[in-house]
Structures are given as structure tokens and as C-alpha cells.
């Protein structure tokens, strides 16, 4: 695990990744266990849902025409509509920001880059570690849905589960790559997390409300979350075009990161803000 930057990075992340896996696994298992109850009490839940405003349901990823009481609709509403994409996006953002900017702020970049490692190698191997970590998270989701189908009859065609998981992984890699690019360009981890979180939250809302507010409707396609689930992969399988948009943009961000690091001074913080100091008036 100490052979290169990618493996070393995964090694460093193994503890936190373990807890992310435990978290998403536990959540999906809990949601699965809930499914038999929901199905048996469909009428009461329908009555309850009728009292919810459409906007609230939209934010939770519940489309108006969705059937919430078959396994796919249920999983979409409870997990793939919001928790799963947000978990993948947040994990990607945090890891992407840590990738280069984190090492710069920690000061560990000095010894690493004084070796014969190239800057190109550093960035792309960090990216590789991010993709691998997101795949591990994806595997956790996949396995937990398999367990759900065995234990709680939440049966979804395996190909569709794979499609849903792949889209979540791509979404995570998208935000991770964006964070990697911003972090590599600025060397500032906090700023990077802030900017990318803002983008993620904004585009999430844009996509959720897009179906309700006419003026936002046309803007939906600028949201990565639109490509994540507009095609409803859990129900209809993989939409290759949408997958390519997310994956392609992630690669573009990687390219930006690779270009950005070539000309930078490392470990000095790319942006400096000078705050004018107040001086006491003499006398």
C-alpha cells in the first residue's frame, strides 16, 4: 500500500472510508427493513403523503408520477433520490479537496514532491484514489441492496441497481474532480470545500425544484444531479449519455487540475487576502 500515491492515499483513508461504508450500509439496511411496513400500510402512508406539499416531496427526490410503493419507487424516494447522491457528492468533495490542497496545508507536500514524483503523477494518482474510494462506497450500496432484496423483498433488477450505483459513483467522482481541480488550483482546502459545497447545494435545489418551477425547468440540465437521476436508472436502467456527461466532465476537471498544478508554487496557499490593519491615531 506504500508503492505509490494512489494506494497510499487509499491507505490513509481506510478508517474514514470504513465508517462511510458502515453509515451508508446501515442506512440502506434500515430503509429496507422499513419497506414491508410501508407496503402493508400503503393506504395510511398515501394519505400522509397527500398532506405534503409537492415542493417538499420534490426536494426529497419524489417525483409526482412516481409509484412509491413498489420496491423501485420506494428506494428512489428513500435513498437514491437524496441520501445516496448527497453522500457520494459530499464524500467526493471532501476527498477531492484534501487530495492536493490538504497535503499542501498539512505541509506534507514538501517531502513528497521533493522526490522524483512528478506533479502530473501526484494529481492523477490522487484522482485515481478518489475514483477507487467512490467505487468502494458504490460497492457498499450494491451489497446492501442485495441484502435488502433477500431479507425484505425489496426486489430491484440487478442491472438497474448497478446502473443506479454507477450513476451515484459518477456523481461523486464529478464533485470530487471539481474539488480536486479547485483545490489544486488554489492550494486552499477550506475554500475548496466551501465553493464546491455551494455548487452542489445550489445545483441540487435547482434540479429538485426544476420540475415545479417553470423558469428553472430549462436550467435543470446545468445541474449534475439532473444527469444523475433524470433518466431514473433504478427503474429504466443506465442512460449512457447521462453517464458520459458526468464522467466526461469529471475527466475535464482532472485535466484542469493537471494544468493548474504545473505552474503553481506548492505549499504557499494560492490566494492571499491582506486585511488592512487598524492603526491607532497618534496622540
Amino acid at each position: 500500500m506504500l508503492n505509490n500515491v494512489a494506494l497510499k492515499t487509499l491507505r490513509d483513508r481506510r478508517r474514514s472510508l470504513f465508517w462511510w461504508v458502515v453509515g451508508i450500509f446501515g442506512y440502506l439496511l434500515g430503509i429496507g427493513a422499513f419497506y414491508p411496513i410501508v407496503r402493508e400500510n400503503q393506504e395510511q402512508f398515501e394519505a400522509l403523503l397527500d398532506t405534503y406539499p409537492e415542493e417538499i416531496l420534490a426536494i426529497m427526490g419524489v417525483g409526482s408520477e412516481e409509484n412509491l410503493f413498489d420496491p423501485i419507487g420506494f428506494m428512489q424516494a428513500e435513498a437514491f433520490g437524496w441520501v445516496v447522491p448527497l453522500v457520494f457528492a459530499i464524500y467526493g468533495t471532501v476527498q477531492g479537496a484534501r487530495a492536493v490542497a490538504g497535503e499542501e496545508e498539512d505541509g506534507t507536500i514538501d517531502l513528497v514532491m521533493a522526490t522524483s514524483l512528478t506533479r502530473f503523477g501526484l494529481v492523477w494518482q490522487k484522482w485515481l484514489a478518489l475514483v477507487l474510494a467512490e467505487l468502494v462506497l458504490g460497492l457498499a450500496v450494491f451489497v446492501s441492496l442485495a441484502v435488502d432484496s433477500v431479507l425484505f423483498d425489496v426486489e430491484i433488477p440487478v442491472g438497474n441497481v448497478a446502473a443506479g450505483v454507477l450513476m451515484a459513483v459518477l456523481l461523486g467522482v464529478f464533485f470530487g474532480s471539481l474539488a480536486l481541480a479547485v483545490g489544486t488550483g488554489t492550494g486552499l482546502r477550506g475554500l475548496t470545500v466551501g465553493v464546491v459545497t455551494f455548487v452542489a447545494a445550489g445545483t441540487y435545489l435547482l434540479n429538485s425544484l426544476g420540475g415545479l418551477v417553470e423558469i428553472l425547468d430549462a436550467l435543470q440540465p446545468i445541474s449534475p444531479f439532473y444527469y444523475y437521476d433524470a433518466s431514473n436508472p433504478l427503474r429504466y436502467g443506465l442512460d449512457a449519455d447521462h453517464a458520459l456527461v458526468l464522467g466526461g466532465l469529471a475527466v475535464v476537471f482532472l485535466g484542469i487540475g493537471l494544468l493548474a498544478v504545473r505552474r503553481r508554487d506548492l505549499g504557499v496557499g494560492g490566494i492571499r487576502l491582506s486585511v488592512p490593519t487598524m492603526r491607532k491615531a497618534a496622540g
Binding site: 506504500l2 490513509d12 498539512d106 505541509g107 506534507t108 517531502l111 513528497v112 521533493a114 522524483s116 492571499r272
Partner: protein, 304 residues
């Protein structure tokens, strides 16, 4: 770039030409020209914030000059193959605190693709560094030792050390000096920075003095020492006359109170000693070559 020495082609280990680098406030270097000779220990001396770290980080391509060229071992530090032959210890060295020291060395060795595990083990044992421990649990001194081991484990041709003894207890400092002596004996070129004069005196062959980003002086330590001021206090059995000492070669200040002489000498002390020896001497105290005073002179000169 190479120079012919004794028929053998020797690469200039470090060459800076017209290097300017500035960032932030009052940090950086200005139009720096500097050449380090093969096999020498070069002390890079200056107060904090003078531009020492800026210079050093350019030597390993962490930062890049705005103007001028930086040449290391005959090539550019951007070239990974060049960096592989350099050992570097940052001023405030940071590690992955959760890793064991041994794992860290393995990792760095792998990134270099030049191994060095055996040397690392050997060296660590000798300087009493426990590689099985978590880096986060190591003391400041032991972390500095680890920094040195990673800088030396691959048998580099050039070693660049940024304030290698800063913040260390005297015992570890001595250890560092010993390592520097050994490197020198092995013909390794060492470029190290310091703001402590006595340490530069102890280990360097040549000294470059940097102040506010400009190289003020580059000199052999011997030459510098000859310019340095030594203070003497002589207690006589009898009472000599001040005129006997005042105008001697090298004496720049003399003051006699009864039978006690205070004086400052630059360079050779030969004449003073001969004059003193004409009397019966009860005691003589020398305060050694005071590079500190010389150093202050450079700064005073700049302020004028």
C-alpha cells in the same frame, strides 16, 4: 554546466543566476546569483524572513522563480531524475502523523524509486531513532532525525537542509553536525541554511549571507573569520600603558582600567599576544571569533 577540476569533470551542484522570486509580504529573493562548489558545505546565513526558505524551496521545485534560472546538479530541479539525486529537509518538516516512521521511509523510498531501506535502518540505529513508532508520537528531535534519514537514505549527491538544527536540544544538534561532517568526508555537497552563526562556523566551508532577499556576501569561512571580531580581556600583574596596545595591527579598540585590558581584535591576534607577553600576565580570556558582531556590521552597513 561543469567545471574542469584536476582533469575530472565536476558538475556545479547549485547555480542560481539572476533569480528573483517574491510572494506575500517581504518574502522572497531579489536578483540572486550564487554558485555552490562540488563537495563543499555551504552555509546560507541570514535572519528569519531573509529569503532562505524561498531559495531552498526553489532548489527542489516546490516554488519557481519569476526571473532567472535555478540549476541543480547540472540540470533543472523540475526534472524528476535530478530531484532523485537530491536530499531535502524542509525547515518545518511535516509528516503523516499516523504512519510509522518505517512506513514513511518506505513510502518516500518508493516515490524516489531508489530504495535506501538498508541505509535508512543503519542510519536510524546509529542516531537512535526508533522506526517502529508512530510519527505522531515522536518528539520534535526525533522527527527531525527522521527528516534527516529520509534526506540521506538514498545517498544523494546534494543535500539541502533548511535550518536543520533549529529547535533541537544540544545533543541532537551535535548529532546533526556529526552527520554533516560525515557527508563532507564522503564528498557530498551540502547546502544548509541557518540563522545561528556558531553553527555555520562549526560546519561550513563557505558562507553566503542573505538579508532581505539579497545576497550580501559570499566568503570562505576562513576569510570571514579573519574579518571577525575577537574580544580579549587581559589581567596583568603590573600596570602597562595603553599606548602599548592601542595602535597594534588588528586591534580596533582598546581600553585599560588599572591592570585590566579590554580589547577587540580583527583578524590576526599575533601582534597583540606579543605585546601582552612583554608583561607578566595573571589571566587572559578570549571570547572567540564573534561572527555575530560581524553579522551585525553587515546589517548596520545596509542601514546607512
Amino acid at each position: 554546466m561543469s567545471a574542469q577540476v584536476g582533469g575530472e569533470k565536476l558538475t556545479v551542484p547549485v547555480r542560481l543566476a539572476g533569480v528573483t522570486k517574491s510572494y506575500g509580504k517581504a518574502r522572497g529573493v531579489l536578483d540572486l546569483d550564487l554558485e555552490v562548489r562540488p563537495g563543499e558545505v555551504f552555509g546560507y546565513l541570514g535572519p528569519n524572513g531573509a529569503g532562505k526558505t524561498t531559495t531552498i524551496r526553489m532548489l527542489v521545485d516546490l516554488i519557481r522563480p519569476q526571473q532567472g534560472t535555478v540549476e541543480v546538479l547540472g540540470g533543472s530541479p523540475r526534472d524528476p531524475a535530478i530531484r532523485r539525486r537530491v536530499g531535502y529537509l524542509p525547515g518545518e518538516v511535516e509528516f503523516y502523523s499516523r504512519m510509522s516512521a518505517r512506513d514513511f521511509l518506505t513510502y518516500i523510498g518508493n516515490l524516489r524509486g531508489r530504495g535506501g531501506d538498508a541505509i535508512a535502518e543503519q542510519l536510524s540505529e546509529r542516531i537512535d531513532l526508533d522506526l517502529s513508532r508512530r510519527i505522531g508520537d515522536l518528539s520534535k528531535g526525533n522527527r527531525q532525525k527522521l527528516g534527516l534519514v529520509q534526506a540521506l537514505m538514498h545517498r544523494p549527491e546534494l543535500v539541502v537542509l533548511d535550518e536543520p538544527t533549529s529547535g533541537l536540544d544540544p545533543l541532537v544538534q551535535q548529532e546533526v553536525y556529526r552527520l554533516l561532517d560525515e557527508l563532507k568526508a564522503d564528498g557530498v555537497t551540502v547546502f544548509f541554511s541557518s540563522h545561528v552563526l556558531s553553527e555555520v562556523e562549526r560546519v561550513a566551508d563557505r558562507v553566503g549571507i542573505i538579508r532581505e532577499g539579497r545576497l550580501v556576501e559570499v566568503e570562505e569561512l576562513e576569510t570571514l573569520r579573519q574579518k571577525a571580531v575577537r574580544t580579549f580581556e587581559v589581567v596583568f600583574e603590573d600596570v602597562p600603558h595603553i599606548a602599548e596596545f592601542e595602535h597594534l595591527d588588528g586591534v580596533r579598540f582598546a581600553d585599560l582600567h588599572g591592570n585590566v585590558l579590554h580589547c577587540q581584535v580583527i583578524g590576526s591576534i599575533d601582534e597583540l599576544l606579543k605585546a601582552v607577553a612583554k608583561h607578566r600576565v595573571r589571566n587572559l580570556v578570549s571570547h572567540g571569533a564573534d561572527l555575530e558582531a560581524l553579522f551585525l556590521d553587515y546589517y548596520r552597513g545596509e542601514e546607512d
